[in-house]
Symmetry: C2
């Protein structure tokens, strides 16, 4: 189903990070749905969370705990978002942290909880508690792939990637996993993503790296414009590689590889978007500023009429223009607007390009991966975002059962 994406092969262990999974039966039968990630004591952790005002109980708890101390454990469940669950939900998030903390003899604030799944149903704490001992006994550095599988909800393939890079003659490993397929329009971060490295990076610098890279990866994708209540993205640096990232040259290499990992995971979410049959890149160029470029890109990406035309492989470019025209851009001069479908120019200077033909447009839209390039002719800034089309399958997934 996913567009140009298959399940990851091997994911490389990251020294200092161990993982375990269990089948707690929270919503799904016959599959793992609970993950414990244990971080060695030297680990720095950075995180970004949803900006949704109705943020979930685990998000509230994780933010509070991160503020109090350095995390040693991440506890993640799928199948239930523990969102819209009021004070009772908050207590359950706290109880789950206490259960992990008790088993490991650490403070509950050293445990960060994460949940993903249906909103508005209470999570049963017993299902979590009774699996804690088994999780601890199966912690292993090689469990990244099973963790990627256990956090899936409407995802059709597990999402993960590993990269290794040499810095100052020493090998640094980065491995990351993510989940997400619907309710995707991240604001600060997307659904759940966990990325770890064995480089040593001081917490403040790690947070800066994370925020910078999230902007051009998870914060540049959308499936349906619906920002989740549970978005969270965590970056962990165990320091076990004995590479300390601080000076500029090493930091640039590190950030570049980190960005590759993040962009791969963000794109993986779009490739596996609910009902997606196409992977769409929207590039907006020569905007007055970055924000304007992003606004235009998102207006096009969220248009149901553009998305259904893409699903139909119909080069109905009038719908793209209509979306550009209603984007919140002050004094757009359409006589300066160009629009390209892949390599083909459709609109030049606001006028239909004389050499464009319906057949050329059709040919490009037959592909699984399509580039829409819009030039505003206003300034030097650009933005790229990724999105999916709107298919019958999208409606089925979201109407036929509760996700």
């Amino acid at each position: 189903m996913a567009v140009g994406l298959s399940a990851p092969g091997a994911l490389l262990p990251v020294p200092g990070i161990k993982l375990a999974t269990a089948a707690a039966g929270i919503r799904y039968q016959d599959r793992d749905d609970l993950v414990l990630i244990a971080l060695t004591e030297s680990t720095s952790t950075a995180a970004v969370f949803t900006q949704n005002a109705f943020c979930a109980a685990p998000v509230i708890t994780a933010k509070k705990h991160l503020h109090e101390t350095s995390p040693r454990f991440l506890l993640i469940n799928s199948g239930n978002a523990n969102a819209g669950t009021g004070r009772a939900g908050l207590e359950i998030a706290q109880l789950s942290c206490r259960a992990v903390a008790k088993e490991a003899s650490v403070t509950p604030a050293a445990v960060l909880p994460f949940s993903t799944g249906v909103i508005g149903e209470q999570l049963l704490i017993e299902k979590i508690n009774r699996n804690i001992p088994a999780l601890f006994s199966s912690l292993n550095k090689s469990n990244w792939l099973s963790a990627a599988q256990a956090i899936m909800t409407t995802d059709t393939v597990a999402k993960g990637i590993s990269r290794q890079v040499e810095i100052d003659g020493k090998k640094v490993t980065i491995t990351g996993i993510a989940k997400g397929s619907g309710m995707i329009c991240p604001d600060m971060a997307t659904m759940l993503a966990f990325v770890a490295t064995d480089a040593a990076v001081e917490k403040k610098l790690l947070q800066t790296c994370l925020q910078e890279i999230v902007g051009k990866s998870f914060n540049s994708i959308t499936v349906d414009g619906d920002t989740s209540t549970n978005d969270a993205c965590v970056l962990m640096a165990s320091g076990m590689s004995e590479i300390q990232i601080k000076d500029d040259a090493a930091l640039e290499i590190f950030k570049q590889v980190l960005a590759e990992v993040f962009i791969f995971l963000a794109q993986a979410i779009i490739r596996d978007a609910e009902g997606a049959t196409k992977f769409i890149t929207i590039q907006v160029e020569s905007a007055l500023n970055k924000n304007e470029a992003r606004e235009v890109a998102y207006t096009v990406a969220h248009s149901p009429l553009v998305k259904t035309a893409l699903f139909a492989s119909d080069p109905n470019w009038g719908r793209v223009l209509a979306a550009v025209g209603r984007a919140p851009v002050d004094q757009l001069d359409i006589a300066k607007v160009d629009f390209n479908l892949g390599d083909i120019c459709v609109i030049r200077g606001g006028e239909p390009a004389p050499d464009y033909t319906e057949e050329k447009g059709q040919e490009i839209l037959q592909e699984d991966e399509v580039l829409l390039r819009i030039s505003l002719g206003r300034g030097p800034e650009s933005a790229t975002i990724w999105t999916s089309d709107l298919s019958h399958e999208y409606v089925s997934i979201n109407a036929d059962y509760r996700s």
Copy 2:
């Protein structure tokens, strides 16, 4: 197909206004697709148009002509929007005005052109020109219903309404027609709507009335968030009833009846929205200001996840909360948020209402017409908007053929 809407029975003639229709074969076969409306010389005309930067050639032309002189004719075609057609399209709009003007011996600026249909294809001027004489010879005050039918595109039923009211002991008639089913998120006005009255209203006052009423009718509906390139709403006052509207008491009665007509037509567009199976009213209360109330209402109305849940009659209220939570409201305190599904309280003070059950929610969603009521607990302002659900039929209509 339309939710709680059938075609209008009789539409009342408005003294001073005559209409004619013709089958020009612009896109559709075996139906009328061209309308001429002739206004008596004493008519005042007010109009509002799309704010889309890529506005259509007829919109540009109509705005220019309105500025120059008082309109005597409206020429409307369906099947082709004459949008995204560059300078050539602009010339065709002007040529069509010239053809009408020549037949009637008036200046071309006294003709306003309107088009609706597919974007990005050139309109053939010959198809229009050769029907002008026939249109003139069949001008008749009783042709409102055939005009309502001739302006339809993906509409499944014609939309029209008449009201009569006594003002100062004299009878005033208001008759209006509209079309629109997709690409509906009006910004100043919606698709095409033409409303006429025989009251005498000075142009400036008429424009003020129009703008005030459009705000709570056509500017309070959305199907897909896509503002059209061709939106236009025209209000004509022929003055033939000998009622001059100016003093406050008469103006209030007139505006109230006018608002009824506009709200009926705006709601008719939503009842006949592409693929609609439900008519949804979203009411946002106790907001800090009007704009905030509207932003929250539109965020919920545009959420594909909320719209698919409504299609499924699934009381998946977590999706509504998630939409409220991501709406652009500064410092929303969720502890003050209430959410009602019809008469049933689902969320009270940000917490699940203890007396709410899934069965109660289910029962309300079985209905064709559903009210979502959200209270923000922040201030005195409220807003009501109307929208439709997102069904398989919506995807079919917009993916299976070009509209």
